[in-house]
């Protein structure tokens, strides 16, 4: 992630009227933000929309960026808020879908236990189960696990992005992993 020009310098250029500067920021961060959005939302289309909305929101609020936080933290905060907002908007639909998925999960795990001798199929089903389990986590737990696993950020970077103490980030990640394990066990998935 080492670059010749820092994100903050590029933002300064954008603020001074350089039309292409913000595009550089987008180019640098879009994949990480997309990964975060995908982990949070679980669907590629939603993730693309959320990523676009994140950068549009950042562009609109560029003048509000005072350099007190890092650009990366600022972008992550916007992205997380975008994802949470999107999920709140579709709350009813999500709840219904989640219920359906939960029922479907049970069926798929049963099938996995009894009818999937092939290791590849089993692995895919486990992966799908993990995906659904992550999606069903509370937003504050999901975001830390996604930032850690999908973006591969350090605890310190997550703490800065979410403006949380380092210990809170670790504590949340531990809780997220435990809840994930419990959800998987509940549906019969083999965790260990």
């Amino acid at each position: 992630m080492e670059t010749a020009t820092s994100d903050e310098q590029i933002v300064e250029r954008a603020l001074s009227g350089d039309a292409e500067a913000f595009g550089e920021i987008v180019h640098r961060w879009e994949r990480r933000i997309f990964a975060l959005a995908y982990g949070m939302l679980g669907r590629e289309e939603d993730a693309r929309d959320a990523t676009q909305e994140t950068f549009l929101a950042a562009f609109r609020n560029l003048r509000g960026f005072r350099g007190e936080a890092k650009v990366s933290s600022w972008l992550h905060r916007i992205a997380v808020n975008q994802c949470i907002t999107r999920q709140r908007r579709a709350k009813v639909r999500s709840e219904t879908a989640l219920e359906d998925e939960t029922e479907a999960d049970g069926a798929s795990f049963s099938l996995a236990a009894h009818e999937s001798p092939a290791r590849v199929v089993e692995s895919r089903q486990t992966t799908e189960a993990v995906r659904r389990a992550v999606q069903s986590l509370p937003a504050e737990l999901r975001q830390v696990i996604v930032m850690k696993e999908f973006e591969e950020l350090t605890f310190q970077q997550i703490a800065e992005a979410l403006d949380l103490p380092l210990s809170t980030v670790k504590s949340r990640l531990y809780t997220a992993l435990r809840q994930l394990k419990m959800r998987l066990e509940k549906h019969g998935a083999e965790v260990a």
Binding site: T51, R172, V191, A192
Partner: protein
């Protein structure tokens, strides 16, 4: 807020399992390889005697492998670090904004801001001249009062009194025109309504050409205000003088009536 967050997560953790080890944070630090050598050694020593931490370490490791598999499937095209030459996921907002077409007002404003003074003055003068020409054209098109009046009267269907006035005025004009053409002693044969018997159709007015027309005309002039013409006669005279539109088609027999009569 930090205490609150910690309490929150502790409560969640306690709800899940009261057997959680107190070194949970060290566990995740070790799990993700962020513990320094000293901390890692310390935790490994602890895990030797802590079944809970050993089990969780194995379970979490297994879940991480599944999450990594999911990530690989979902974002396989996306490298774990930022790729310099990769295809953009979205279009940069700055480019979107630059492609937006400015409004007409904004374009004019921009033009006047960037142009030199002489160009601005010339443009302003041209605009003034153009506006003056447009105003002149509109004013000229509005200057046709007589035509408009006649059209309005004809289209509106004047009342009987208005028809009388119009007939008198038109007959008077005709008489005067003929008088001018023929001289004082040979006033034209056209007469006004005064020379007509009460039951004579008005369409004969223009054909009432007689040798003693001058005398009749003078007589008619003197009697004009006292004469009475029925409304039907007035309308027929008006049609002859083309003061109102002739509805000839209304007088034509209908084809269906003719067929009925033939049958």
């Amino acid at each position: 807020m930090n205490e609150k967050e910690t309490l929150e997560t502790r409560m969640m953790r306690n709800d899940d399992d009261a057997q959680a080890c107190a070194r949970a944070e060290d566990l995740v630090t070790y799990l993700y390889g962020e513990a320094d050598a000293r901390a890692a050694q310390s935790f490994e020593a602890h895990a030797q005697g802590c079944a809970s931490c050993r089990t969780e370490l194995a379970q979490f490791g297994h879940m991480r492998a599944s999450i990594a598999e999911w990530r690989k499937e979902a974002l396989g095209s996306l490298p774990s670090t930022v790729a310099a030459n990769s295809t953009p996921v979205i279009a940069p907002p700055a480019l979107v904004y630059s492609e937006r077409r400015p409004s007409a007002l904004a374009a004019i404003r921009e033009f006047f801001t960037l142009s030199p003074a002489w160009l601005r003055a010339a443009t302003a003068a041209l605009v003034v001249v153009f506006c003056a020409l447009v105003a002149l054209t509109i004013a000229r098109s509005l200057e046709q009062p007589e035509t408009i009046t006649v059209e309005r009267i004809v289209s509106v269907k004047p009342s009987d009194a208005e028809l009388d006035e119009l007939i008198k005025a038109r007959l008077k004009e005709n008489s005067e025109a003929i008088a001018r053409a023929n001289g004082d002693n040979q006033v034209g044969p056209t007469v006004n309504n005064a020379s007509l018997p009460g039951d004579q159709p008005a369409r004969n007015v223009n054909r009432a050409s007689k040798p003693n027309a001058a005398t009749q005309t003078n007589l008619a002039r003197s009697r004009a205000p006292q004469l009475k013409i029925s409304p039907q006669e007035s309308r027929e005279i008006a049609r002859d003088l083309r003061l109102v539109a002739a509805n000839d088609e209304e007088d034509l027999p209908r084809l269906t009536d003719l067929i009925d009569e033939a049958n």
